[in-house]
């Protein structure tokens, strides 16, 4: 994976840059000592590291604007950082960049339960937004698995999803308005607490733009009433095809479960030896969760088990209470940990049309065998969002590279069956060089044209999303 060569002129201008930043920020908000900026050298894609030139931690929108004015004027690239939980290298620095962290933007600005929204500064974590409205009986729906740590700014940048988006949608479906600081330091208000922003849907294009269009410092988020309760059922099958057909039948029946999770045999075995959730040893497991009152839950689960029984499952285990629910979820929730204990792993998130599931799993098995890397699959089956986990040994030379090559083959396969490279993690640097497999030159040109409008000199996170060769002319404009 290549990154642009650091600009020697910018490296030489570090003292001037630091002096200017210190002039507009509190002294503890600027970090430039090499041993201290190393704290920002990577995000959750730890295979790639590079310390930034300077790190800044603004506390207000005005400070963010002042930082961007300086960087814009000096032509310094800015890499925005939420909590650094990106799995795609979205917050990976370059040696000549300023890392702009939003961790100090942590205020709740307004809660309005009668109009069902909350306005927050975007350094707040995903879970703390829910915590702020929980006592009123509300929650914030997108629930990425990093929700304890990840920041709303990063959620907006990556358009984060989660296990429950089959019913509640992803970030873009729950975002009503933002305060956005543009690359030149101008501050723009888009949308608000009302339901449609009007005019061109700028909010829609900002959400998921991976920090390339501006820095979101405040956001108005839709909040929803908490469901009365939720319970899962575990269903085991001796064939991936049959499990896939069962998922399609559940969806076609008219029920909308909040989650349908799928695990294949390698994952079932790994989690059993790791967590001992008591899963049956079978080819495929589904966890289907429904919400509502106790009676509604019982009725929905009864319908789901009736459908499942038509497909001759090897086991059906309906949760009768909180303890059993936790046990059913235990294996799924420890899947990453279980694989982590077996070795290093790469986690992908290619998405496929649900109907292509059996074909794709079969082909992943073949690719895995040929490459000599074990691959386990957990999968948000309701929406086709796969999570193949590729095992490798980081201490053995060449293993990371061959695991990455297998990952690239799997992602290309997802695109070839009508899916996409990434369903929720984002492109970052990890999938950047595969973009030409999914998009034509005209497709990429149209996307880059949007960045040209928001950030004409390409200082915001410039080495991400678009293959370097494709964006070279634009980044050269710096």
């Amino acid at each position: 994976m290549d990154m642009p060569t650091p600009n020697p002129d910018l490296l030489a201008q570090k003292p001037k840059l630091v002096a200017q930043l210190r002039a507009v920020l509190p002294s503890d908000a600027v970090t430039d000592a090499p041993e201290e900026v190393r704290a920002y050298e990577c995000d959750a894609l730890t295979a790639y590291r590079c310390a930034p030139l300077v790190a800044v931690l603004p506390s207000t929108t005005e400070e963010v604007a002042a930082i961007l004015r300086i960087c814009h004027q000096m032509g310094v690239p800015v890499v925005p950082r939420g909590s650094g939980t990106s799995l795609a290298g979205g917050a990976l620095p370059t040696a000549d960049c300023v890392i702009l962290g939003v961790a100090r933007l942590r205020e709740v600005i307004e809660i309005n339960t009668s109009d069902r929204y909350i306005r927050v500064q975007t350094g707040m974590t995903n879970l703390s937004v829910t915590a702020a409205v929980e006592s009123d009986g509300f929650f914030y729906a997108p629930d990425p698995s990093s929700q304890l740590a990840c920041a709303i700014a990063g959620n907006i940048a990556m358009n984060s999803g989660g296990a429950h988006c089959l019913k509640y949608g992803v970030t873009t479906n729950n975002l009503l308005g933002v305060t956005l600081v543009l690359a030149d330091g101008e501050v723009v208000e888009i949308g608000g607490a009302h339901m449609d922003a009007g005019g061109l849907d700028l909010l829609g294009v900002i959400c998921g733009s991976e920090g390339q269009l501006g820095i979101v410092t405040e956001a108005t988020l839709r909040i929803l009433p908490k469901p009365e309760g939720a319970r899962p059922v575990l269903i085991g099958f001796d064939s991936n095809e049959v499990a896939g057909a069962c998922v399609a039948d559940i969806i076609k029946s008219g029920l909308i479960p909040v989650a349908i999770e799928f695990m294949d045999r390698p994952i079932i075995r790994a989690t059993e030896s790791f967590a001992g959730a008591g899963y049956p040893d079978c080819e495929a497991l589904l966890i289907v969760e429904v919400e509502g009152s106790p009676q509604e839950i019982a009725d929905q689960l009864a319908r789901i088990t009736t459908i499942a029984k038509r497909h001759n499952p090897v086991e059906i285990r309906e949760s009768q209470g909180p303890e059993e629910s936790a046990r059913i979820w235990l294996g799924r929730k420890s899947a990453f940990g279980a694989m982590g204990q077996m070795g290093d792993y790469i986690c992908l998130d290619g998405t496929i049309p649900v109907g292509a599931l059996p074909t794709v799993l079969k082909r992943i098995g073949e690719l895995s065998e040929a490459a000599g890397h074990m691959v386990g699959n957990v999968f948000h089956a309701g929406d086709g969002n796969m999570h193949p986990l590729i095992l490798f040994n980081a201490n053995e030379p060449g293993q990371l590279e061959s695991a990455e090559a297998l990952g690239a083959d799997i992602l290309k396969l997802c695109v070839d069956v009508g899916g996409c490279l990434t369903g929720e993690h984002g492109v970052g640097v990890e999938k950047r060089d595969l973009m030409t497999h999914q998009f034509s030159p005209a497709d990429l040109e149209a996307q880059m044209a949007v960045k040209d409008v928001f950030d004409p000199t390409w200082i915001l996170n410039p080495a991400k999303v678009f293959p370097l060769a494709v964006s070279a002319g634009r980044r050269g404009a710096q």
Binding site: G192, L200, D249, I251, N385, G419, Q438, V465
Partner: protein, 379 residues
């Protein structure tokens, strides 16, 4: 001798041909079924007529040519007990236009009905697009899968762009199962302040309200009605109706409409603003926060009003030529039905702040550098 500008009607069903025509012609008024255009623009009427259809009910997704009619799509979905969840309105009757709504027009206007309050707008159900931009380039974005964060989301940008960025040729949409039971709770005689309060309380319960609207009393004696819709499997709807009535018991007895056809007619009328069809006056569409709605309506004093989306969307019937924007605080107002003269004087689309206007203009110039599509329509 006077020179009359002649406006052509152009139909096309091949992308390559469309791209060619766009490169060599223009300006164009991008036209779907011709039922919902509210902005003013002049040029050759360009219509994409391709009507292909690729539907996967088990994945709740649909890939469809923009030229296909909404009614034909709805029919095909209904055969699999599915539908477009966002309940796209048919504004043809309100605007006095004949014709069949097209998928392209629906997406270009982000047409969303009462269920928007629960399931999101048309743009939220849009998964992918293909379009031809103003330079004649064919662009695709998004895809046919429900979760996709690969690259910038131009799908949302195209939805609601009123045909000013490109001609949509194909869209992918999320579908939704049709629930087996629908019930509507009806409170009669509430004031508008009470009605918004009722709707907010209902929408704050965990009972998945999929429609919340309020209609004023009518001259024939029908009292003011506050309507709450519940949908789902039958046992769930029965439980929720009862639970909701309990939670709102201090508001008095609510009637319950259990007849699905009756509920459908009621909500369709709200969706299509049927109440204002054939009634003289301008029609405005406001997007506001619900709690501010009653005060705003009192200040504007319309001839009539429909509260939808729990009070978040207001349809106002106004005396011809009245500007409601002067009274607006937050939120915005769109002039949906008025004479061209009024539309020119007041503007159809809401004014934007300086930077939003600058960014929007920048985007239009990128996608349509020569301003060939619906020139001047959105600003």
């Amino acid at each position: 001798m006077s020179i009359m500008a002649t406006v052509k009607d152009i139909s096309c069903d091949s992308e390559a041909q469309l791209a060619d025509m766009i490169r060599t012609g223009g300006p164009f008024v991008v036209k779907g079924g011709g039922t919902s255009r509210i902005g003013l623009a002049e040029g050759d009427r360009l219509r994409w007529t391709c009507a292909q259809f690729d539907y996967d009910p088990g994945a709740l997704t649909l890939v469809v040519s923009a030229g296909m009619s909404v009614d034909a799509v709805s029919e095909r979905l209904a055969a699999e007990h599915q539908r477009l969840a966002f309940e796209p309105p048919d504004l043809g009757p309100l605007l006095g236009r004949d014709g069949a709504r097209s998928i392209g027009g629906m997406v270009a206007t982000n047409a969303s009905g009462p269920r928007r309050v629960a399931v999101g707008a048309c743009r939220d159900a849009c998964l992918g697009v293909r379009f031809v931009d103003g330079r004649g380039k064919i662009v695709k974005n998004g895809g046919r899968v429900m979760k996709n964060v690969t690259g910038l989301d131009l799908v949302k940008l195209m939805a609601g762009s009123q045909g000013t960025l490109g001609v949509l040729t194909e869209v992918s949409l999320k579908t939704q199962p049709i629930p087996e039971t629908t019930a509507t709770l009806i409170f009669e005689g509430q004031t508008e302040v009470e009605a918004v309060n009722t709707m907010s309380r209902a929408l704050g319960t965990p009972f998945d309200i999929t429609g919340a609207a309020h209609l004023r009393q009518v001259a024939d004696g029908t009292p003011a009605r506050t309507l709450l819709r519940l949908e789902g499997i039958e046992s769930a709807v029965r439980y929720r109706v009862e639970a909701l009535q309990q939670r709102l018991s201090d508001l008095g007895e609510a009637a319950v409409e259990w007849e699905a056809a009756q509920s459908e007619a009621t909500w369709r009328a709200i969706r299509d603003v049927t109440r204002f069809v054939g009634v003289p006056g301008d029609v405005w569409r406001l997007s506001v926060t619900p709690s501010e709605a009653p005060g705003l309506v009192a200040a504007i004093a319309p001839l009539d009003v429909i509260y939808d989306w729990g009070g978040g969307r207001l349809w106002l019937l106004m005396s011809a030529g009245t500007d409601v924007r002067a009274k607006m605080g937050k939120g915005h107002a769109t002039l949906v039905r008025a004479s061209d003269e009024t539309k020119r004087a007041l503007g159809v689309f809401p004014p934007e702040n300086r930077l939003v206007a600058q960014l929007s203009k920048g985007l239009r110039l990128k996608f349509d550098p020569e301003q060939k599509f619906n020139p001047g329509m959105m600003g």
